[in-house]
Amino acid sequence: MRPSGRILASLFRTPIALGVTVAMALMAPALATGGRLLAQEPAAAEKPVDYITPHITDSYELEIPWVNSHFAKEVCLGHHEPNGHCGPLWGPVHIGSLEVNLSPTKHVVFMLLSAAVAIVILVGSAQAQRRHQKEAGHVKGFAGGIEAMVLYLRNEVVLPNVGPHGDKYVPFGLTLFFFILLMNLFGLIPYGATATGNIAVTATLAIITLVVVEVSGMIAQGPGYLGTIFYWNKDLPLFMRPIMFVVMTPVEFISKLSKPFALAIRLFANMTAGHIVVLALIGLIFAFKSLASGAPFIMAVAIMALELFVALLQAYIFTLLSSVFIGLLREGGHSSGIGNTGNGEPGTGNRGSLLGKQGFRGEGAPTRKWYPAEWPEKLVEARASVTSSA
């Protein structure tokens, strides 16, 4: 790492800590204003009642399910207002001319729940794995499943894409994946709300990713980081450089900002769209005022199966794209990208599973069985590197 980079690193400690701190400072207004924006959509036309929008947007009421109607209730997370509705718990916080609403809502409860469940599952699996290692030499049970997922994310998603010395980005990728996955899955159970169906939540995650990407780029490249903003290509003839500078610098700016924007919108839209489709299909029952021989139910079940797949896939895509963006900026944009197969130095390209380790037309590729053949080496390699390095 260059000396200037080392100074920057000592200033910022780790890019991840800085990213989380900065993003948490931005999180609260984003969360509040985003939630408010989404709740401003009018709920109904003149006659038809809107069944769909209350199930998708954030609200101050939390529904507690139970099998009978005695114990099932709606808990108001704020104060009961005079007109019978549930209002915010805290008044708005004024930052300059901006009014920020920080009171807890349904999505906040589900975010905290997902975080708590993620901590319990992952820390519990880590402790179980340590215990099983001592006793039996191998991990078993549920902790084994979690270990398989963690190792897959580490070896196939994060490490090939973030470039050299990528071990310190593995916890970030794992946190992103499991947090988003749990938020998505909680939205699929009855009475659950999808916290990632709130644009503020996905925008916060995208802002955290943006800060991590940019700061790690600054640390890895030092002053060369400015080359990723101001386009100055030394391969062009001398008179072309200012022209391309003027043309390409806005493009670089926009590309830096549009990547996290796309991450946020992709996750938000995938989660919300699936729920809207399911709710619209169930709403057909109300529109026809009959069960319609179960046809809407069957269609809704099929869409829910697709929703389960989309929940997993979108968490994976968010993690993968974050790793790719980190790796792109750390390499300096010379080599790498999804299509690079190697010998372009430094880092010799993307060794991820997308194009694999094979050359042209696949000669030299090991015939790769899906699970058993390669995993034992990778497992041993992972444990050795975990115990030997930090």
Partner: protein
């Protein structure tokens, strides 16, 4: 018939000026999805062809195809989200 009540609601919606806005939002979402359908269909075709040519690369091709399909779907959902915002503002 119950279809009659649905048609009545649709005619009511189209006869006032908000109806045109609703038609616009629906049309926008539908057109956006056409692009996604074409794109993901092409990915599916190429993926199947690649897997047929080289069955041992099947797992890798499947992973790549899934990732590209999710990226394209993200773009199509931009259009769907904007259409949803339009109908929310009407």
């Amino acid at each position: 018939m119950t279809m009659y009540s649905l048609l009545q609601v649709a005619a009511e919606a189209a006869s006032n000026s908000r109806g045109l806005g609703f038609i616009g939002a629906g049309l926008g979402a539908g057109l956006a999805v056409i692009g996604a359908g074409i794109g993901i269909g092409r990915i599916g075709g190429s993926a199947a062809e690649g897997m047929a040519r080289q069955p041992e690369a099947g797992g890798r091709i499947q992973t790549a195809a899934l990732i590209f399909a999710a990226l394209i779907e993200g773009v199509a959902l931009f259009g769907a989200v904007i259409a949803y915002q339009i109908q929310g503002k009407l």
